[in-house]
């Protein structure tokens, strides 16, 4: 079985986000970019499934600008067998990504599609669900445990829900999106970085896949949350009561 993993290049989790002065988006030039942490978890899960002998190949795919190749290299250094980069320089929304992924799935015919539950930049949490819909495959989102049963072609997925755990049984092929506690991703070791250099990254464009990129969404404005006002030190209880009554109006 082949596993396809979608990975996204995002602003590094530890970087302090700055909004562009014209409020059109966040500053990305000269900012450290890394693999979306949830995608890392998805890739790690795929690698573990392969190492357990339940998959034959792990293919990492990414859609976005030219630099996505760096993120795919990281994926290859972690252990993916090969990668596909669908290059598109402009803004992409989940539905476009899902359409591109559907075209890739049609071409590659994986038995399992793994994605991070969401990207930490736009926090959409839509792509996995949309691609499952387009493919008409069963979906297990927010997976905290994945068990494959190849003979019966089923995947058992534990999901973290409000009240506890929900266990689903999915017929393969299926879409699974990964949550934080599924696993702890491995580091890229030097020998694996070396091996990754000879692995292939196939380049495609949305046109190659016959996908038209358009969106019904428009970002109007991006702003920072309001800054917390500095506190004041009051000199007496009377003053405090006065403020609570007349300013905060809680008394």
């Amino acid at each position: 079985m082949r596993i396809m993993v979608a990975i996204k290049r995002v602003i590094d989790y530890a970087v302090k986000i700055r909004v562009k002065p014209d409020k059109s988006g966040v500053e990305t030039s000269n900012v450290k970019m890394s693999m979306n942490p949830f995608c890392e978890i998805a890739l790690e899960e795929a690698l573990r499934i392969k190492e357990a002998g339940r998959a034959s190949e792990v293919v990492a795919v990414s859609v976005g600008p030219a630099q996505c190749v760096d993120t795919l290299r990281t994926g290859l250094a972690m252990g993916a067998d090969r990668a596909i980069h669908v290059e598109f320089p402009g803004t992409l929304y989940p539905l476009s990504i899902a359409k591109i992924l559907k075209a890739l799935v049609d071409a590659e015919k994986p038995g399992l599609l793994l994605l991070g539950k969401q990207a930490i930049d736009d926090d959409c949490n839509q792509t996995g669900q949309m691609i499952a819909g387009l493919l008409k495959w069963p979906q297990g989102t927010f997976a905290s445990k994945v068990v494959l049963d190849e003979e019966n072609k089923v995947a058992t997925v534990d999901r973290e829900v409000d009240g506890g755990l929900e266990t689903l049984c999915l017929d393969l092929p299926a879409v699974i999106t990964t949550d934080l506690r599924l696993n702890q991703p491995r580091y890229a070791t030097l020998p694996n970085i070396m091996k990754a250099k000879s692995k292939v990254i196939k380049k495609l464009t949305p046109q190659d896949l016959n996908v038209e990129i358009r969106s019904d969404l428009e970002v109007v404005q991006v702003t920072e949350p309001p800054k917390r006002k500095a506190g004041v030190i009051l000199s007496s209880v009377d003053e405090l009561i006065d403020k609570l009554k007349n300013e905060a109006r809680v008394l």
């Binding site: 530890a14 302090k16 934080l180 030097l190």
Partner: protein, 584 residues
């Protein structure tokens, strides 16, 4: 900024609390940046916690025993921090610090003095409240405590000058104080010295954006300067754990080292000029902003690292490097110490302009960290390695730096210098690797009693000391080594179940003698202060110490500035005495 400051003051309080009760070493964990509403539980570590860890490095390094002089020749150690504690008595060994007697020629502060100070400084500049004095009298680790009754807070160089002129005339001893984050008892009074705090002198005076030259007052907190420069696209040439509290004047006076030394050199290089006030109130204006100035003796160097014993630094002009955006970190394994050294020299050649840190730890340190610290994992779990090194690069172009570092690492692994390694793919991974290196002191503290030494040694000899020490101690103790290999700075730590006289006699004075024999320094980055004033002879010749004493006498004839520290009292004259005894 207000939030940041609050966080730092919280940190500071928490750290102090460490020594009052059972240590809560995980307090850094609560200070995390919150991300977009996700319950996100990566072992992410913002700068704050990293610095906090470094800080702990420093705290922990001194906190193992609390020295109190009890009568003649007997020192009582009160180890604290561990829940149970190990109260043990030790003989006063030759190399142990003992508190000198109060110099009788110093006057006591009287009410006339107070009214004079109030006249020149105003009510706010004269502190007599016990609570505030308590903080200023006590050092970070709560290891040294003075009994000063007076703290002065001047707002200008002129006021500092007036204070010192008066104190010199009255023969009142003075201890200059910055952030009070020193580790060798240099920043707190020994007896009743007047504390001169520079905290109110905290203005940035100018910044030259073209050349990156910052001029500021001595009381500026390092962290504030870092944020100020960050907005301008520059960084301070030094960065250390205590940045949230320490002040630039104190950094300069103690020649603080820190994390960026391998890249940007010591403060002797980056400080372009300073203004200092001598003991008699004379203001020395050497506040140049020139890179080149060969006119006569470069006296500013006397005030860099002399720990406030020659004058009080009031203003500083400092050369700041531009901020670079690309940082990469590799965690590597070497089979032996020779390989680490070869790797260092190869890194200097091949990574030259982007190398920004080269740290090492041995297997004992690694085991300790993995055993005692939660949330850390071995980055190279497939097999054990004798030595681990961290190489950090900082440059301007991510792709160029990464390519360069990768090529260097791959070459090193092919040539056998490296046995294995991992390259951080994001900041989160980099933080996890740093946490291992920086977690060593914390792990040591959790492991039991620990004897700590901060030594500068020629890198090729560095590890011989560790192995000799292992030979001497055998199974009695766990000898752990880590440090700034790139700077030749070894942190030698001897971890035992509990403090034990027989172990100590095997360590000291051997460790100092060995360091001395190999022309090392017994204090790499912490200074001498009160703790090691009498041990200067291990690192400096008698003639050198004599010249230092002569300089001290010339600049401060009454010896009022930071007395009992830096130099042994035996080489300094006390008023009313004849010439000092000169035997080393």
């Amino acid at each position: 900024m207000a939030n940041l400051l609050a966080a730092y003051s919280l940190l500071r309080r928490s750290s102090r609390k460490l020594f009052d009760s059972r240590p809560d070493l995980n307090f850094s964990a609560s200070i995390r940046s919150v991300n977009s509403g996700l319950t996100y539980n990566f072992t992410q570590k913002c700068d704050l916690s990293r610095q906090d860890v470094c800080y702990r490095d420093q705290i922990v390094s001194k906190h193992n025993c609390f020295l109190r002089s009890s009568g003649s020749g007997v020192l009582t150690f009160f180890p604290r921090g561990e829940g149970s504690g190990f109260p043990i008595h030790y003989r006063n060994l030759a190399s142990m610090a003992s508190t000198p007697a109060r110099n009788k020629s110093f006057s006591m502060v009287n009410s006339d003095d107070i009214s004079y100070f109030k006249k020149i400084l105003g009510e706010k500049g004269v502190v007599q409240e016990e609570e505030k004095l308590d903080d200023a009298n006590t050092d970070w680790m709560r290891k040294y405590k003075g009994s000063s009754k007076l703290m002065l807070q001047p707002r200008s160089t002129h006021e500092v000058s007036q204070i010192l002129h008066y104190c010199n005339t009255r023969c009142l001893a003075v201890v200059p104080q910055g952030g009070n984050t020193g580790l060798v008892g240099g920043s707190v009074p020994v007896f009743d010295e007047v504390i001169v705090s520079l905290s109110f002198m905290n203005n940035v005076l100018s910044f030259d954006k073209v050349n990156g030259i910052l001029v500021c007052e001595a009381g500026c907190i390092l962290e504030n300067l870092i944020s100020f420069l960050d907005n301008e696209g520059f960084i301070m040439p030094l960065d250390l754990g205590a940045k949230g509290s320490c002040q630039i004047g104190g950094n300069v006076s103690t020649n603080a080292g820190g994390l960026r030394l391998i890249r940007y050199g010591s403060l002797h290089g980056s400080v372009l000029g300073l203004e200092a006030v001598l003991a008699n109130g004379t203001v020395l204006d050497m506040l140049g902003t020139l890179r080149k100035d060969n006119t006569g003796y470069d006296l500013k160097h006397l005030f860099i690292g002399s720990e406030g014993s020659l004058g009080i630094v009031t203003k500083v002009s400092i050369l700041t490097p531009p901020k670079l955006s690309s940082v990469n970190l590799a965690f590597l394994a070497c089979k032996d110490y020779i390989s680490c050294q070869k790797l260092l020299s190869a890194a200097k050649t091949k990574l030259g302009e982007i190398l920004s840190a080269f740290e090492f730890l041995d297997i004992n340190a690694m085991d300790l960290v993995l055993k005692h610290l939660d949330g850390l994992r071995d980055p190279l779990p497939s097999s054990k390695h004798k030595f681990y090194t961290l190489i950090e690069t900082t440059g301007s172009t991510e792709s160029h730096d990464k390519e360069k570092l990768e090529a260097f690492l791959l070459q090193s692994i092919e040539s056998g210098l490296l046995t294995d390694g991992v390259l951080a793919q994001d900041i989160n991974q980099a933080s996890a690797f740093w946490r291992i290196r920086e977690g060593v002191p914390e792990a040591l503290m959790k492991a039991g009693a620990v004897y700590k030494y901060d030594l500068s040694l020629p890198p090729e000899k560095m590890y011989d000391l560790v192995e000799e020490m292992r030979g001497r101690l055998g199974a009695e103790a766990n000898v752990v080594a880590y440090g700034h290999l790139g700077d030749g700075n070894l942190h030698l730590n001897i971890s035992t179940r509990q403090y034990d006289d027989s172990v100590l006699t095997k360590i000291e004075p051997f460790v100092y003698e060995w360091t001395s024999k190999h022309r090392g320094s017994i204090s790499a980055e912490h200074g001498l202060g009160l703790m090691k004033a009498n041990k200067i002879h291990y690192s400096k010749t008698a003639e050198t110490v004599q010249l230092m004493a002569a300089i001290k006498k010339l600049l401060d004839p009454n010896g009022i500035l930071n007395p009992y520290k830096v130099l042994p009292t035996s080489v300094l004259p006390q008023s009313g005495e004849e010439e000092p005894k000169t035997e080393a």
